[in-house]
Symmetry: C2
Subunit: 366 residues, 2 copies
């Protein structure tokens, strides 16, 4: 498939450690419930899965935030749990609740029955990727994504969200053999899934390790990081001669940055507990950093949003500016945007990031 050439490549350049005139910004969950136009489309679709599985709806909502804000990237509208759904676990979203699986994986027989799913079952995702890429018409790049093997396992065992991860950790500590088996299958499934998104037109891919941070030191390395690495090993480096950057985001993973710095990926995402300056020192210039404003700052008045956005930019410091590769920053929240966010506050943030990051560069020019 042929797509239009890219007009705004600041996000992709920053992913690759190349200089940009401003710090690019996009927001996790930027297409979502805080936007009234999203809620309209969602109502027409009838259900979350009705929305996510319909190519036209998925395209429409992915583009909605770009109509309002000068964001530097689009992200596929989908869910992190599509892969276990394709494995046959039966994903659903009850109104006002989180995701739920009809048949969670809780015993040896259920683990042994797991297989890498037929990617044809996820065709609706790849079709959405191509459709969105076409609709973007080269405006900004499109990011594809998946949950990490460990994060998928959490939901697959718990069957829903959890506040103590008791069931999945009981399996991990009691039957590490079963957990490793599930994580292998998840990793190989996620790799195939992201590669198919790349084939369909995704220009960067992100692995959401949303629950890596609930693991104990030691267990994180063994049960989350090792399988994220297994996914990365299998990912395509480029498509049609163009490099495809890979982003890894572990919520609550700030204590393991040095280990994450060894991952074979271009970008590490950070939540708001991390000091970006300290992270930059630990990680070095070999990776771009993405993050990390507390999404709750968007509930404060504009002046405070502006001040806090500057603090995040300043904590990273001046990004690499010359030719060649160096240490770069992609602005984002430290977690998905809240459904209660006033939409007009997002403009304040995006504009503050663009304006202040241009000033930072101007002050540092020789």
């Amino acid at each position: 498939m042929r797509f239009q050439p890219l007009q705004n490549d600041s996000f992709l350049r920053a992913c690759q450690g190349l200089a940009t005139p401003h710090t690019p910004i996009w927001l996790m969950r930027q297409a979502g419930r805080y936007l009234p136009e999203y809620r309209d489309t969602r109502a027409r679709a009838g259900s979350f899965m009705g929305l996510a599985t319909n190519v036209d709806y998925a395209t429409q909502v992915t583009l909605q935030p770009l109509e309002r804000y000068k964001l530097d990237a689009a992200i596929l509208f989908s869910d992190i749990l599509t892969v276990p759904d394709a494995m046959g676990l039966g994903l659903s979203f009850a109104l006002g609740e989180g995701p739920r699986f009809a048949t969670p994986v809780r015993d040896e027989a259920a683990v042994h029955a797991l297989r890498v799913p037929d990617m044809e079952k996820l065709r609706y995702v790849f079709d959405a990727v191509s459709s969105i890429r076409k609709a973007l018409n080269g405006r900004v790049p499109l990011i594809g994504f998946s949950g990490s093997p460990w994060t998928l396992a959490c939901y697959m065992v718990e069957g829903a969200g959890s506040d103590d991860y008791r069931l999945v950790k009981t399996m991990l500590y009691s039957r590490p053999d079963l957990m490793h088996r599930m994580l292998e299958i998840n990793a190989d499934s996620v790799a195939a899934y992201l590669n198919a998104q790349i084939d369909a037109g995704a220009q960067a891919v992100m692995i959401f390790d949303s629950w890596g941070g609930v693991l104990a030191d030691g267990a994180f390395q063994q049960f989350s990081l090792a399988y994220t690495a297994r996914v990365l090993r299998q990912l395509k480096r480029d498509h049609d001669g163009v490099n495809i950057p890979r982003i890894v985001f572990t919520k609550g993973g700030g204590l393991w940055l040095q280990e994450m710095a060894a991952l074979d990926c271009e970008v590490l995402g950070m939540d708001w507990t991390v000091n970006l300056g300290r992270a930059r020192e630990l990680v070095g210039a070999s990776k771009a950093l993405q993050g990390n404003l507390d999404p709750n700052i968007l509930f404060a008045p504009p002046a405070q949003i502006d001040a806090e956005a500057r603090k995040v930019l300043d904590s990273f410091g001046t990004p690499h500016a010359g030719p060649g590769r160096g240490s770069t920053h992609i602005f984002n929240l430290g977690h998905g945007i809240s459904q209660h966010t006033p939409p007009e506050h997002v403009s304040v943030l995006v504009d503050a990031v663009h304006a202040h990051s241009r000033r930072l560069r101007a002050h540092q020019a020789p």
Copy 2:
């Protein structure tokens, strides 16, 4: 009041950096719902607050885990939210739910109405401390505790538990002046409360900063750590000529260990995401470390519990053994014990910690 001399001082010695024959162990929430005898007393008391405010019941449940396990300390049975309840916010616990305040603090008027409560309203806590201390009869030391100023503020503003801390963070970012005012009052209240527990017989005190870890870098230092320090500055160093060690535990605070190492306290508590060896290097020998087994490990079979307990002990390394002060370890979970824990698994843990920590010392003897 005169109490019996202490028979097992391993916990207090370890708090002070003094050598002990084994690594002392106690468990956060060790008197609790996982014990059938606790559930019986709770049923007789009618409600959680009925249990916590009755001196005889509070004494009885505090001692229950000591009847079953060779724990090296007792902790007052109470709740972290007694102080805002005494401020008039109306604490209650609906069955199967968390704490709830009848009148949360959500605007300027409510913040300005806050005062350090009359400690007479918390007399039931101090009476319980004296009663428990008497009932312990010198067996093991008694730990008193409170929520941290920030953790109290979270509940006071949210009115209950939260998964995004939207209301309290909105106040923090929109009206930092109000948040600072509330935290000052909380800090002075907590200090008075802990000092009264010390007067009543508490032999060590612990500040639970259960929600410090939800703050952004920068905000943590300003809105949590600074007010924990304000509490510590006001605490009595000793009582009747005996030193009273102070423990600070910030759940999710692993990224700020270097800053926490500067706190004027004897012990830092850690959750399971922290590597104790790394923490020991960062914190130095001036403080004991407490923690940090993932409570979910108690759902695994005995052999795995034993193995994971050893891992935690080994990650700390050999504690200080000679005369004088050095770097010591107090074994604990990284968070409160789960109500679903099989009680017999707790014996496995306690015995494993005692046995393995004795072996560690024997191997290191000259």
